[in-house]
Symmetry: C2
């Protein structure tokens, strides 16, 4: 056996291409990223890229799904630490915001870039959104079962939750000089919990979160 097992070098190169593509896609978007750009950033050539991947799409798809996997795993790990339904929801929310706050690029890829692609990818995006909103729906259903919240339309509510989260992250990504994403947590938490009918006493907390430092007012 060699010091580096066969294909190890190759695997590493493949990873470098993936990393380069991730960075390129999440900063310039899918369509504005040329395969040559990826090759250059990965210090290889176009031919090298096409040795490891059949098409440009394939690279994108792989990135999307593995990135989503990582995020879902992170959320599930955080949720598993709690038992009480509302606390689980809070943990999930915190995990997502925390992850995005630390990895802006990940957020870009999952929530903005997706969109810069074409017809084909709308399906991909759709699946991603569906996946997340069903994850949320599951937690909401549990909460209803546990009588932590009143019975409600968990489908619509989960879509609303995901949409709210998505929009918040998107605005943070596009803001000129965004504050820390976590600053939005208390307010978002309150909004979402209230929307699901969590009793006001359980929400508690102050309504005023130092008045919107996340999106500082900017004069027109």
């Amino acid at each position: 056996m060699a010091r580096t097992d066969p294909g190890e070098q190759s695997r590493r190169r493949r990873e470098r291409i993936l990393d380069a593509a991730f960075h390129a896609f999440s900063t310039r978007g899918y369509r504005d990223t040329a395969v040559d750009d990826i090759a250059g950033a990965a210090e290889t050539s176009k031919g090298g890229v096409y040795f490891h991947f059949p098409t440009k799409d394939a690279i994108f798809r792989e990135l999307m799904s593995t990135t989503a996997d990582k995020l879902v795993a992170k959320v599930e790990r955080a949720v598993a630490l709690e038992t009480e339904p509302v606390a689980r929801a809070e943990a999930a929310l915190k995990a997502v915001l925390g992850t995005f706050a630390g990895h802006r690029t990940m957020a870009r890829l999952l929530f903005l870039d997706t969109v810069g692609a074409g017809r084909v990818f709308q399906q991909e995006t759709n699946n991603l959104h569906d996946r997340f909103s069903r994850l949320i729906q599951g937690y909401l259903d549990d909460a209803v079962t546990a009588a932590a919240i009143p019975p409600l339309d968990t489908r619509i509510t989960s879509i609303a939750w995901f949409g709210a989260l998505n929009e918040l992250v998107a605005r943070w990504l596009l803001a000129d000089q965004p504050g820390p994403l976590e600053d939005a947590y208390p307010a978002l938490r309150a909004v979402l919990l209230r929307s699901a009918g969590v009793p006001e006493t359980r929400i508690g907390a102050v309504p005023d979160p130092a008045a919107g430092s996340l999106f500082p007012e900017q004069p027109r």
Copy 2:
């Protein structure tokens, strides 16, 4: 005087191009629509298109802004008919859902297509979202002032509202065989009003809306 005043013909042609572009952009997306496609659909030529518009961008921008104008105007008209803050919010929500329900293409252009464009348009989208969420924020602020809802972070809440609405419409647009969009109104209304702290008594209404006909469960 001629029967048709001069320029009238020209104006009509310009309108045809705009219509064709609207349809093309909202079905195939910005990048997948060639100027030749627009010209063809408008029964003119590429040169004809470029006589009326300086660039492809310009067509898109004009469509975006006039479409948004129409929607905002419709909302404001609906809102003006009510005086009580919560009723105003309900009217706005109903107006938006109703409009989209009747004009899927409009929804596509404003909420999905936007996104199929490039770097430049992200700014455009950003402005659009900002415009709508500030519209919402205004109503929320009024409601707080009128003490119809407790004081809360209206910025975050308005973003959440817009995001929820946006996501719901997007899912409806992308669903294989969507039910009527209005079916989601009761549930969405309840979720949003609750999220803003509207008292449960004011929301009233049944929690069960014939169990999600909007997104019928489909087997994998």
